[in-house]
Symmetry: C3
Subunit: 273 residues, 3 copies
C-alpha cells in the first residue's frame, strides 16, 4: 500500500481551469438548495442553470458542459426529467454527478436512486449514510443510518465505485474520494458547515464544474473537495455563527488563490483495498 502525504494533485490548477472556462452546469437539484447552489457556482467561477421540466431537460443537457442530479425533493414530473437528462448526459459522454439525498429514507427514493444509478454517473457525492444505503440496495436495501461509521462508508464507496465504474465522494468531517483503485482523504472544512443548509448539495455542483475538461475524474473530484474544504476553513475563522459563516464562505470561495490553497492543502492519497 502506497501512502502519499503530499500528492501530485494540484487543486489550484483545477480551479484555474474552472475560472477560465466558466463551464455551464445544468442542475436538477432540490428546492432547498437551488439558490445557495447557484451562488456557490457563481462564486467559484462557473455558470449555473436550473432546468427541470421534462419538456426541455435533456435538450438543455446537450447545451450544458455537465449535469448534476440531486434527489432531495422529488416529484413524479421531476423524476422523469432527471432520468432523461442523466440518460442524455451518458449518451453524449458529458460528466454528470449524482447526489443521492436521503436515498435510504423511503421506497420512492430507493427506486429513484437505483434508476439513476443505471445511467452511470461520473461521480456520486453523498454523506456516509447515503453512500451505504445506495450501495446496499442491490444486496438488500439498508436505510439511512446517520450513525454509520466512516469505515463502513469507505468499503461501500469502494464497492460502489467498482460496480458502477465511477468516482465516489463521501463527505463528512474528513472527506473521502475513491475510484475503486485510489483513495484520497481530504481534510479541512469547519464544524459550522453542516449547520448551513445545502452546502453539501452545492458541493455537488462544484464537483461537476471541476469535471469539465478534466483528464482524470478522480483528481478533479479531489481538487473540488479540497477547494471547498479550504474555503470552509477560511470562512470559519471569521464566522460568529451559521449566518455569518454562509456569507464568509461565498466570499472565501470567490477569493481563493493559489497561495492559500497550496499552503492549507491537507490531502492523503493511498490505494483502495
Amino acid at each position: 500500500m502506497s501512502h502519499t502525504i503530499f500528492p501530485s494533485i494540484d487543486p489550484a490548477a483545477h480551479l484555474a481551469r474552472v475560472r477560465e472556462h466558466a463551464p455551464l452546469i445544468h442542475n436538477i437539484t432540490n428546492l432547498v438548495a437551488m439558490n445557495t447552489m447557484a451562488n456557490v457556482l457563481l462564486a467559484i467561477g462557473a455558470s449555473p442553470a436550473m432546468v427541470h421540466a421534462r419538456e426541455e431537460a435533456a435538450e438543455f443537457t446537450a447545451i450544458a458542459d455537465a449535469l448534476t442530479v440531486n434527489i432531495g425533493t422529488l416529484s413524479p414530473h421531476w423524476v422523469e426529467a432527471m432520468i432523461e437528462a442523466a440518460e442524455a448526459a451518458r449518451l453524449m459522454g458529458k460528466p454528470w454527478v449524482l447526489d443521492p439525498v436521503a436515498v435510504g429514507a423511503t421506497a420512492y427514493r430507493r427506486e429513484t436512486g437505483a434508476r439513476l444509478l443505471e445511467r452511470l454517473p461520473t461521480v456520486i457525492r453523498g454523506n456516509a449514510s447515503e453512500i451505504i444505503a445506495l450501495e446496499a440496495r442491490g444486496a438488500g436495501g439498508r436505510g439511512v443510518d446517520s450513525n454509520d461509521p466512516a469505515e463502513a462508508a469507505e468499503q461501500a464507496a469502494i464497492r460502489l465505485a467498482r460496480r458502477i465504474g465511477c468516482v465516489v465522494a463521501v463527505t463528512g468531517e474528513v472527506d473521502l474520494v475513491t475510484d475503486g483503485r485510489r483513495l484520497a482523504y481530504v481534510h479541512g472544512g469547519h464544524p459550522l458547515m453542516p449547520r448551513v443548509t445545502t452546502l453539501g448539495c452545492s458541493l455537488t455542483g462544484v464537483v461537476a464544474a471541476f469535471l469539465v475538461g478534466a483528464e482524470d475524474s478522480f483528481e478533479a473530484t479531489v481538487a473540488a473537495l479540497a477547494c471547498y474544504a479550504t474555503a470552509g476553513e477560511l470562512a470559519g475563522e471569521s464566522a460568529r455563527g451559521p449566518g455569518s459563516f454562509a456569507v464568509a464562505f461565498l466570499d472565501a470561495l470567490y477569493a481563493l488563490d493559489n497561495e492559500t490553497l497550496r499552503g492549507r492543502l491537507r490531502l492523503e492519497l493511498t490505494d483502495a483495498t
Copy 2:
C-alpha cells in the same frame, strides 16, 4: 383572572431539549421559505427535511418527529401530499403545525385550509389576518384584512383553539398564544423581522421542534416564540438593514444561551376569557 408577569415557563429548558435531541422536522412548506426555514432549524439545533411528493410524504412523516404544513405556495400534487402527511401525523399522534399563509386570499386557499383543519393540527401559527380568516370560514368566510386589530385576532384565536382543541399562535409586534384556556403574550423581536421574508414561516418549524418531547404544547409554543423573539431582539442590535439582520438572526439563534434568554424574557400569562 390570574395575570402572571414572571411565569413558570422556562424557554431555556425547552431549547436545551431541542438541542439535545435534534428532532427531525418534516416540512411541506412554501418554495420561498424552504432555504431560510432549513437554516433556522439547523441554527436552533433541529434537523430539517423537506419532502412533498405524494409518493413518499406520509411515509416520511412516519420517520420524522414532527410535521409542518405551510400553504404559502400551493399546487394540486402538493395539496394532496399535505393532506396525507397531516392525516398520517394525526393517526400516529405526532405533533404537527399548520401555517395558513394568506388563507383568506383565494377560494383554493380557503378550501385547502379547511381540509387541513380537519386533520386537527397540534398548533396553528399565523398572523392576525390569517387566524381571523381561518377561524371565520365556518361562519361565513372573511378574507385577509391586514388591518384587523390584534384584539379581533385574540378572540378568533381563542375560538379556534377551543373548536379544534389545539394551540393557536398569532405572531405580530406582540405575539399571542392560546390553548383556549390560557393566554400568553410574548414581547420582543424587532421591526426588521417583517422585512425579511419567511421568518414567520420558519418560526413554524421552530414551534414543531419545540413540540417534540414536550409535555405541554402550549408551554412549548410559548417557549419557541420567546426564543425567536429574543434572537430577533439581539439581531436587531447589530443590524444595518434587512440583509445584515437575516445574517445576525441566524447567528443569534445559534448562540442563544440560558442567561440571555432568562435576562430578556418578557412573557405575560393570563386566562383566556
Copy 3:
C-alpha cells in the same frame, strides 16, 4: 436627436411612492429567485406574493397591484398559470412585467416566451441575449448568444418595444431602457452583481413595484433601474465578495435616501432612432 444628461426623471419620487403604498406584487418566478426576490421587494418597501397554482393564479392577480412572470424554471402546470395570470393582468389593465430568462435556449422556452408576449407585457426586462432572442423569434428564432453586443440588443429592444407597444429594459454593465421612442442609459451597479444569483430576476419585481401608480411606464422603469444601480454601487463599496455583497445590497436598498440617489444618479436620455 436630443441628448439630456440631467433628465427630469426623479427616481427618489418614484421610490417614495413605492414606500408609501407598499404595492402588492404577484410573482410567478423561478425557483432559484423566489427568496431573493421576496427580500428585495421587502427591502424596497413593496409587498411580495408568490402564487403559481393554476387553481388560483388569475384570481390572485385580481387582488394584486402588479404581476411579474419569469420563465427561468418552467413546468407545464406553471406555464398555464403564467398565461392565465398574464391574460388576467392584461384584461384588467394591471401592469405586468415579463422576464424571459434564457428564452432562446430551448424550444419550450421560445414557445412559452412567444405565448406570453401575446399577452402584451407592460415591460420586458432581460439581458442582451434574451432580448435579442425574444425579438428575433418572429423573424426566425435566434438562440442565446451571450456575446451579442449591446448595440445589437439596443436595436432589438427598440423593435420589440414598438412591435409590442411596451417598455423594454436591457440590463448589463450599462442598462438601457426604451419605449420605442425614448431611450435611456442607466449607469451604476457593480461587477459583483452578476456574481450573485437572481439579482436580475429580483429587479423585475422592483420594476413592477415602480409601475404601480406611475403615469409613465418608461419613466418608472428607468427610476427602478436607477435605484437598483445606486444600491449596487453602494453595496460594492463595502463588499468583500459575492456573499457580503448580497447582504450589503439588501441593506442599501432598504436605506436608499433622496440625497444619495440624487447625488449618484447617472442617467442619459435620448431619442430612440
